[in-house]
Structures are given as structure tokens and as C-alpha cells.
Symmetry: C2
């Protein structure tokens, strides 16, 4: 881009690498950085650096943590007989925000996706099996995404864990609360019908 | 938000201060920062810091610059008898990207907006008058935004500059190339009709 200073071109370039940020948005963000108080701009730069340098994965459940163990695994009030398996830390966060699950988690850090070249070995499945083998879980809840790959991953894991004396469940599948039947697609309706629950 | 590490909460907070970035987008950006290679995350942090620390306003035209004078003002090939007045560096950039203007610029760093408490004194109007007084401009093109405030600012400036022997013009106003008459609003059509040009 003509006539942009070098450092401005660089920051626009870096912003536009972020997900959902196109060229125009990146330019807008860059100009925002130039317009705000210097302390605010540097606070953002420092926050990005700090999060990348201090956050690591929990050695037990692979949730995000600032030490070797995450706040959930080190919380004595959690129910240590319940384990919820999610794909990403974001999914864990969504469940935590709902505030109804009080057990522990295991974050797979992905899902099995052969088309993307992601096999079971790239996920945290080995440590999961280890936890189940040595642990005291009475129930394992599959909370992978309700997609072909998420379902496939859940099926793979449930087969692996079948030999252990633990109950394996998955999140309920059906129509979503607050939705309108008329606008619901046929896959969702088919699931909701075939998995219908007692009233 | 429960169970987010401190540095993650901070970076989400900082991201959500950016224009057009809501809470959900800020979370997505933060997780992206955690997922990409460390060098990429730090490159973004460094770029933000660098642009805020190195970029300043050109002492002549108030465009963005990495030294006392911007690349346009220090470019000998530009036509020094033409001056284009814009509100913001972004507007200048848009015109430069069009690649058809070869004169110099003057960036007002805003527009007169009484409702926002922005008067002429907060803009770079004094140095503009000084440039016109001492300069060799034959034409000054008003390229403020086609809004009430942009038009008002252009009018204010053109009155100020009326005493100098220089031609004052403004960007053509009319229907936009590629638009569809049926979907054009009546203000645009009224302008296009009253300002109709020779065929």
C-alpha cells in the first residue's frame, strides 16, 4: 500500500492475520491504535505478549493454566467422579459459563479429522485413557461438538474406554430451547424425534 | 468470567476495547493468540508497540510519518501546486490507493463537530492557512466527507481561504459509479440532479 509508513504496514499485516479480520478491519484497528492514548495501545501489546508467555496447558486436563495445574483441577470443591470431555478450552469455558457442571474436564485439543490430517495421536487421548484407568470416575460425559467429526471423535473414545467400569454419556441432542420448529432443519428434527424423551 | 486465567482475562478485556470487536470476538482473538506459534503472537504485540512508538504526524501536512516529514511531502515528484484537504490519514490513504491524485495533502485530523465539542481550534486549520498564505498552490481540493459535518468544515475553510488567490474546488457529488438508481436515496438523487454535468 502506497504511502503507509513501514510500522503501520506491519501492524496492518499482523492484524489481518487474525481470524475474522479482513484488510479493511485491520486498517481500522491500526488507525485506532494510533488514535488512542499511548498507554492503551501498549496495554494491548503487553497483554498479548503476557498471555502468550504465561499461559500453558494444565498437565492433568489440558485446560489453559498459568501454572502446571489449572484452577479447575486444583479446586477441591469439584466432583472428582465426573469427567466431561471437550474439544477445546473454549468449549470448557462455555460450559463453565453455563455454571451447571461441577465435575472435572479433559480437553482433547482438537477432534479427529482425517481430512485435515488430524489423527488420534495428535489429541490428548493417551493421557485421557491414563486418567480413566487410574482414576475414580463414575461417569464420563462426551461434550464434543455435534458435528460429524465431533461425533466420530466421541465414538472413537467411547470404544477405547469401553473396557473400563465407567458410564459413558453424551450431551442431549434435540431441538434447542427457544427455537422455532418451523425454522429447524430436518436433521435436527430427525434427531429430536428419534431421541425423544419421556415427558 | 469463571476459570479464565488472569492474563487471558486481561487480553480479552484489551481486545474488546478495539472498535468493532465485541466480547465474543475478543475471546476468539485471545484463543487464536494462544493457538498460533509464539513468534506470530509476539510479532503482533511488537507491531502494535512499534507503530504506537514510531509513528508521528508530519510537521507539514499532518499525515502519518515515521520522521518529521511524511513520504508524500518529501516526494519531489508530487505536484506542489495542488493541495487536497482531508479529514483523516485514512482518507488520504483511500485517495492514494485510487492512485490518481499527484499533489500534496493537508490532514485536518477531524472535522468541525459542535455536538461533539470539536471546534476549528482542535483541527490543523491554522497551519493550513499558513501553508496557503506562504505556499504556491494554484488549487485547493476539499475532500472532507460528504456529511453535514464534513460539508460544514469544508465551507468554513473555504471562507477562511477566500482572501487568497487560489482556486477552491470540492470532490464531485452525484450518483456513484456502479450503483442502481432504484436503490439510490432521494438526497443522492437530488444532489445528482441539481449538480448535473455536461454530457
Amino acid at each position: 500500500m502506497a504511502q503507509v509508513t513501514q510500522s503501520l504496514a506491519t501492524v496492518i499485516e499482523e492484524f489481518s492475520k487474525l481470524p475474522g479480520i479482513g484488510r479493511k478491519s485491520a486498517e481500522r484497528l491500526a488507525y485506532h491504535i494510533l488514535r488512542v492514548h499511548k498507554s492503551e495501545a501498549l496495554a494491548l501489546a503487553d497483554a498479548i505478549r503476557a498471555v502468550r508467555e504465561s499461559v500453558q496447558y494444565c498437565s492433568t486436563c489440558y485446560n489453559l493454566a498459568e501454572g502446571p495445574t489449572c484452577t479447575i483441577c486444583s479446586d477441591d470443591r469439584r466432583d472428582k467422579t465426573l469427567l466431561c470431555i471437550v474439544e477445546q478450552p473454549r468449549d470448557l469455558m462455555a460450559l463453565e459459563q453455563a455454571g451447571i457442571f461441577k465435575g472435572l474436564y479433559h480437553v482433547l485439543l482438537g477432534r479427529i479429522a482425517p481430512l485435515d490430517g488430524v489423527g488420534p495421536d495428535q489429541l490428548t487421548i493417551d493421557p485421557l485413557v491414563e486418567r480413566v484407568r487410574s482414576g475414580t470416575f463414575r461417569e464420563i460425559i462426551m461434550a464434543t461438538n455435534p458435528t460429524v467429526e465431533g461425533d466420530g471423535t466421541a465414538l472413537y473414545i467411547s470404544n477405547l474406554l469401553a473396557e473400563y467400569p465407567v458410564q459413558i454419556t453424551r450431551l442431549a441432542r434435540g431441538i434447542t430451547t427457544g427455537s422455532i420448529l418451523e425454522y429447524t432443519n430436518k436433521e435436527i428434527l430427525a434427531d429430536a424425534l428419534s431421541l425423544r424423551q419421556k415427558f
